[in-house]
Amino acid sequence: MTVIPSIKRDYLSKLAKQGKRADGRKFDEFRKIEIETGVVTKAEGSARVKIGNTQVLVGIKMDVGEPYSDSPESGVMTTAAELIPLASPDFEAGPPRENAIELARVVDRGVRESEVIELDKLCIEPGEKVWIVFIDIHILDYDGNLFDAASLATLAALFTAKVPAKRFELGDDYTIPLKDPPVSCTSVKFNDVVVMDPSIDEEEIADARLTVATDKNGDLRAMQKGLSGSFTTDEIRKVIKSSLDNGKTIREQLYKIIGK
């Protein structure tokens, strides 16, 4: 548990009062996003996403297994995240801690609750055999805003993945049946300023965090507030607005990459 870095806080707050951020961005502006797909040969699908210097790699693997007894005609999806020590001097080896668990669960819910993967189309034999989709999130370089990088990389990997039917002698490979995905945008609040796509410095001094996933109709599909600070209802509504705006742009970039 570290003492709050008060010098950093003072500096960034002072800038914020002048309407500025340390890297020159506007409060509601994302850093440059790069999306690259098909980066891992062994994976069924993969994508590397950079948001500024943050870099996340997501790989999709699939296997054949049993369905859950309460949904015998549905495929299964599972999401894991590792904050591997490669990505930051502060990440430690070992089983996932709270932060990695929250990250994996937020990405997982973003995909699961919006039914991005049409799991009912991943049934092979009802009650017996279904496809299992493993989403593995690998953080490579941590410079702030893992939630959005991980969730965007997950979507790009899913949309370019192939069901490896041939390897399992189940016919020809085909793309995973997917619905239109929600895009996640994260903001943080410090000293009563709310900024989108926080850098690592902004994250370090943040009081509160809010992630909002929106779909192409401009509807809300998932939200997660984090950290011990609070938001007023006005702030929440504002964050939603700018998440809708940024979500639209990011969606266009994603569509281009995945050829949609």
Binding site: M1, G218, L220, M223, Q224, I240
Partner: protein
Amino acid sequence: MKSDIKLIDSKGKRLDGRKFDELRKIKIEAGVLHRAEGSCYLEWGENKILAAVYGPREAIPKHTQNPLRAIVKARYNMAAFSVEDRKRPGPDRRSREISKVISEALENIILTEKYPRASIDVNIEVLDAEAGTRCAGLTAAGVALADAGIPMKDIPASCAAGKIEDQVVLDLGKEEDNYGNADLPIAISPRSGEVLLLQMDGHLTEDEFNKALNLAINGCKIVSDIQKKALLDKYQPALEVD
């Protein structure tokens, strides 16, 4: 998951007879345990929850101490027998995430700067689980903290709103949670109205979200009244004697 269950009837009544803005029955009792410094037993619909507070006490191991304030460690745990299919004892990913968001919400409201290097431990045991255990657990934790005399800016109150059959309603029950369209659990500081916890799963238009948020905030205020009454019930007799 789909279902043929009709969650709201033609008269606007829900499965258990509630109106759209009605909470399930809530019963709160403060100070129910002997060893804990503060405790609370809460029933919310079929949910049964115990919360117990220990501390402020020296945080161990030492490297977890914060020299400027107390750390707040909430531990949300489901008893093995609290759900239909027995749950393996010990924390899973879901309970660890809930422990994290509840810890963060409580850290906001406790005057942690009064107790540098200390730990305030909040144990939340779900003995019987239906929908809404995280809101119920956070609500019980608030009462247990007050019962322990931990100084707080306010007593946090929690409640969810959601959407079923395209209507925004308060406090989803079990079937409503399983077959509904969206769930929005929140917690607020009742005095300031600020939002301490917020999660949302499902599908809401911006307009529906605003409705649901207002409904949930109102729900929190009702919950807050029940919390205060429980604390009064415990301390009133003592006060009257004085």
